[in-house]
Amino acid sequence: MNKALLSQLLVFVIGFLFGNLYKHSFDPTFRILIALPIGWALFGICATAVYSVYFTAVSQMVLLVVLALTTLALLLANIAQGSLSRDSVLLGGAGLLLLTVACFFVNQLRIVTMAPDSSYLARFGQNIGLGNYEGSRMVFSMWGPLVPFMHSITNLLDQKLYWQYQPILSLNLVVLVFYTLYTIIREQKSIFQSCLAATALVSLMALSNIFLFNFFYIHNSILSALYLFLCVFALVKMTEQPGTAYELLALLSLIAFSLLRPEAPLFAIVTLLVAGFWRGWSYVNRLKVVGPFVALLVAWYARLYFVLPETPDNITPPLVIAMIAALVGFGLFAVLSGLKILDPIVKRTPSITLIALALLGIILTLVKPDHMLKSLEGIVRNVFVPRPVFTGDWGLTWYVIIFLATALYFARRDAAEGPTERHWMFPVLVAYVLVVYNLAYFREPYHTGPNDSSNRLVLQALPLVLLYLSKVRFAYF
C-alpha cells in the first residue's frame, strides 16, 4: 500500500503544482480536485513521449527522471511566479492529507471489479514497465496507452496488481462533478438549494449498478468520463474567463482523453468541431487548443503504426492511417479557418458536423441495416430495459434524466433565454450520440450487458448531461 499511496501522492503533487500556477483562475477546492487528473494526464504525456522514443528496460527509469524534472520545473515556475504562498502550501498539504485518507480507505475495502479487458490492460501494461516490448505491444492495438502506462509502474510498487488508482479516480470524478455542478447552480440559488440540486444530480450518476461496477473496474471508462467532463467544463469556462488556465486544462484533458480509447480522438475532434467553431471562439484560441492536440496525437499514431503487432487486435495499420488522416485534416481545417473565403463554412461548422454525422448514420444504416439496427437495439436496451437480475443495468437513471429534462423544459418556458453555452453543449451531446452510433459500423454490433462498449460510452457522456442540465436548465427551476 505504501508505495501505491506514494505514487498517487507524487502524481497529485505534479498536478497540484501545475494547477497552482493558475491559482487566480482556479479556486482552491477546484485546484485540489483537478490535481490528480492533471497529474495523471502529465504522467501519460511524459510516458507516451519516453516510450515512443526509447522502449527498453531502462525506459522506466528515464520516465521517472522525466517526471522528477517535470516536478522540479513546475516547482521552480511556482517559486518564480510567486504562486507558492503559505496558503497554497497549506492547501496542497490538505489535499495530500485527504488523498492519503482516501487511499487508506480504498485499501481497506480491497474491492476491484474485473473483466477480460482488465487482465489485458494490467498484464500488458506491467510488461511495459519491465521493458518487455514484445510482451506489451498487443495492448496498443486494443486501447489507448494511458491506462497501460499507469499499470507500467506496478513493478515499482511491490504489488502484483496496481488497482488503487481506479477507485481513487472514480471518487475524484464524483466529487469533481458534485463541486462543479454546485458552483454552477450556486450562481443563482442558495447554498442549501445548490447542495440539494447537486446531490440529486450526482446521485443520478452514482446510484446505479453500472456506475458502481465501473467505479472499481480496471478499465478506461471512468477515466474517459473524467477527462471528457473536465475538457468540456474547461471549454465552457474558456468563454467566461479568457486566459491560459482553462485553455491548458482543456488541452491536457483532451489529450489525456484521446490517449484512453482508440476512438477517443474522433470524439475529441467532433467536440472541437462543435464547441471550438461556435461564435465567441477566436481563431487564435482555436489554434491554441487544436494545434498541440493534433501535433501530439499525430506523433503518437505515427509511432503506433510501427509498434502494432503482426496480428493486431482492434487497431490495425489502416485504421491508424485513417486516424492520422482525420487528425491532419482537422488540424488543416483549423489552420485554414482563418481564411475569409472559408468564412461561410467555418460559421456553420457545428451545424455541418451534426448534419454530416446524421447523414453518415443513415448511410451506414442503409449499407449494413441488420448490423446497425442491432447496435441501436443494444444501446436502447442497455439504457432503458431492466434485466431480470438487475445487477448490471442503469435502473431508473435515464428515465429520471429524461423526466428532469422535460420538467426543466416546462419550467424554462417561463424564463428568459439562457447563456450561450446552451447552444453548443446540446449539439455536443447530440454529436456524441451520433458518433457512438456510427462507430458501431466499424466493429461488432453493440450487445446488451454491463460490459458492452456502448454502456461505457454512455457512461462517459453522463457527467456531460448533468453538466448541461445544471448549466443551462437548473437555474430556471
Binding site: 487482465s119 510482451g135 502484483k160 446521485s203 446505479s208 430495459v385 445487477t391 420538467a407
Partner: protein, 239 residues
Amino acid sequence: MSKIGLDKFAAALMSIGMLPTPVYADSPGAMVRQMVMEIGRLKVASIIILLACLLSTRLVGPLGRKLILRLLLGLVLLTFLAVQGRSVLYTYKNTGRYQGHKTMALSDLQIVDNLYHSRLFSGRNVLPLLVADYMTDAKVFLYDKNLYSKESLSWSGRDPDSTFVFGGYRSVMDASFKVACLGRPHIIYKGRVNETPGNAPLYIATPLSIYANEEQVFLMTDPLMDYLIPGSWGAFQHE
C-alpha cells in the same frame, strides 16, 4: 386516416426502440404490448401519469406550475433513490461483486476468485499470468514447442528464451501420479477454451503461491487436460 397515420408512426417508433419485435409482433398493438412487457407495466403507467402531470402544468399559472413541478421532481427523485438503493443493495448482498479480495493478483482474481474468463488467458493459456505473478525465477518446462507462440510466452513479462524449456522430461501423466495430484488442493481452469481451438483445461495446484517457491515447474498432459506441476512434487524423470 389520422388513426392509421398515428399507428404507423407509433409502429416506426416502436421498431426503433424494440428492434427484435417485428420478428414476433407484426402490428403496432403487439409492439406496444411487447414494449410494455419489457419495460414493465408499472414503469410505463408511471411515465404516462408523469407526462400527464407535466402537460397539466400548462393549465395553471407560473406559481402553481412551479409548485407542481417541484412536487413531481421530489416524488420522482425519492422513487429513484428508493429503487436504485434497493437495486444496489440487492447486488451487494447477492453477488460477490463488492466484496473485498484477499489476494490482489491477476491470476488469483481470474483463476481462484473466478471473476472473469478472458479470451487470451483461458485454459492452459493462462500460464503467462501465473508465470508473471508466481514464477518470477522458476524455469518452466513445456512439453511441446508449438503449444504457445513466442509472443504469448512473452506476455509473462519474462524473457521467453531464458524462462521456458521445451521437452527434456517425461511429460505424460501416469495413473498413480495423476491420482496423487487430484488428491491435492487444485483448480481445473477451463476459461473460454471453446473459443480457442487446440486449447485444453489446465490443472493448477492451489494456493497459487505454492509455485512461488519452485525452481522448476512442469507442464504435463493426459488426453483430457494439461497439468501444471511444481517441480518439488518430484515425479519427473528427466529424459
